[in-house]
């Protein structure tokens, strides 16, 4: 009985909560949901980092480090509450069931990218392959196409990418699919045959990418080889600093410069 009531309440409330009456409203509801899930993930990440920092400063942990007691260190770290990425991803998947088309795809992609969970990724990939190959919104997942290989396996991942190439009407989606197909063929250990295939696939990807940033990513190694060698004047960088103030690398001519690509992550 209780369960029946809960289900009924949910069925009545969900469309209201999610604003499912009109297309425009529904789209903003998805954006709001995504923002809410992302904010929750960010909160959990910050809480985890703070707890982790506090743990490292605790006497017990310092003692374990001094003793080189790895078992104890692992045990203490085990007491931290890790971000529940799978739980949040499951919420996104559940919510996706109440939407159609691009809106559903956005939530499913969010789940696969942020959940970092093999079962969720597999379920999302299956759902996308069954219903959503023509959606432009699959690009959000394809940008992180490297996340597909492990949960789906090499063959499963290839099949997904091939289906995108065969069925998507969107050049950028196809470009990403070609790009991820090229990657395993372009590694250091690849045979000359594979490297040639990889280069062909990457060339297809670059052509389809047009002005999308994937094009820069594909041209990166060549740019590095041609422009970033010792003895050459460094290409200028025009950008913004972390506070949004515009500046450029050439502002520092006349000074010795260490240019450092870094992050805290």
């Amino acid at each position: 009985m209780m369960r029946f009531i809960t289900t009924c309440t949910a069925a009545l409330l969900l469309p209201v909560l999610l604003g499912a009456q009109s297309g425009a409203k529904q789209q903003s509801a998805v954006a709001a949901l995504q923002a809410k899930l992302s904010a929750e993930l960010k909160n959990q990440n910050s809480a985890y980092r703070a707890a982790s920092t506090a743990l490292r400063k605790s006497e017990a942990y310092k003692q374990a480090v001094a003793d080189k007691d790895r078992r104890k260190m692992t045990e203490l770290r085990g007491t931290l509450t890790r971000p529940d990425t799978k739980g949040l991803a499951q919420k996104a998947v559940d919510a996706a069931g109440h939407f159609q088309g691009d809106d559903a795809v956005k939530l499913l992609s969010w789940a696969a990218v942020n959940g970092r969970d093999a079962d969720i990724t597999k379920a999302v990939a299956a759902e996308l392959q069954a219903k959503h190959m023509k959606s432009a919104a699959i690009v959000a997942l394809l940008e992180k196409g490297n996340l597909l290989a492990r949960p789906l396996g090499r063959d499963g991942s290839e099949a997904f990418l091939d289906k995108v190439i065969a069925e998507s009407p969107h050049d950028v989606a196809k470009a990403w699919a070609y790009y991820w197909k090229s990657r395993p063929l372009s590694g250091r250990g690849a045979s000359d045959d594979d490297k040639a295939k990889g280069a062909d696939l990457a060339a297809q990807a670059e052509k389809l990418a047009g002005n999308h940033w994937l094009g820069d990513k594909i041209r990166g190694p060549k740019f590095k080889e041609e422009m970033l060698q010792v003895g050459l004047v460094a290409p200028n960088i025009v950008g913004e600093d972390i506070d949004g103030v515009k500046f450029q690398l050439e502002d520092y001519r006349g000074k010795v410069v260490v240019l450092d690509f870094w992050g805290f992550w």
């Binding site: 913004e240 972390i242 870094w262």
Partner: protein, 102 residues
């Protein structure tokens, strides 16, 4: 790496030297809290919300982090991948060349 870079910046503060970062943190709030904690004073380009897949590192073909280029006062790339003591030595060499009027 950050403690070393902080001390390099401190050591060279009166010299014609700048450490310029390309920072790849997606989250500016996180950047600010850690920068304060770690005493990061140098200026960085922000690589945008895509983090390590941002526009600057994509264009420059950066695959490993950190990636380091040392440029002389004319903007010429003179060293790549120098870290720790080698970074300091490279900077000292280039400052020396500058004083010698090369």
């Amino acid at each position: 790496m950050i403690p070393h870079e902080r001390s390099l910046v401190e050591q060279m503060k009166d010299k014609p030297f700048a450490l310029i970062g390309v920072n790849s943190d997606k989250d500016k709030d996180y950047f600010h809290s850690r920068a304060k904690e770690m005493g990061v004073t140098w200026r960085s380009f922000w690589n945008g919300p895509r983090g390590t897949s941002g526009p600057i590192s994509s264009k420059w073909g950066v695959r490993g982090w950190p990636t380091i280029y040392v440029l002389d006062h004319k903007g010429v790339i003179r060293f790549t991948g120098t870290r720790g003591e080698k970074m300091t030595a490279a900077v000292e060499q280039l400052l020396g060349e500058m004083e010698d009027g090369k």
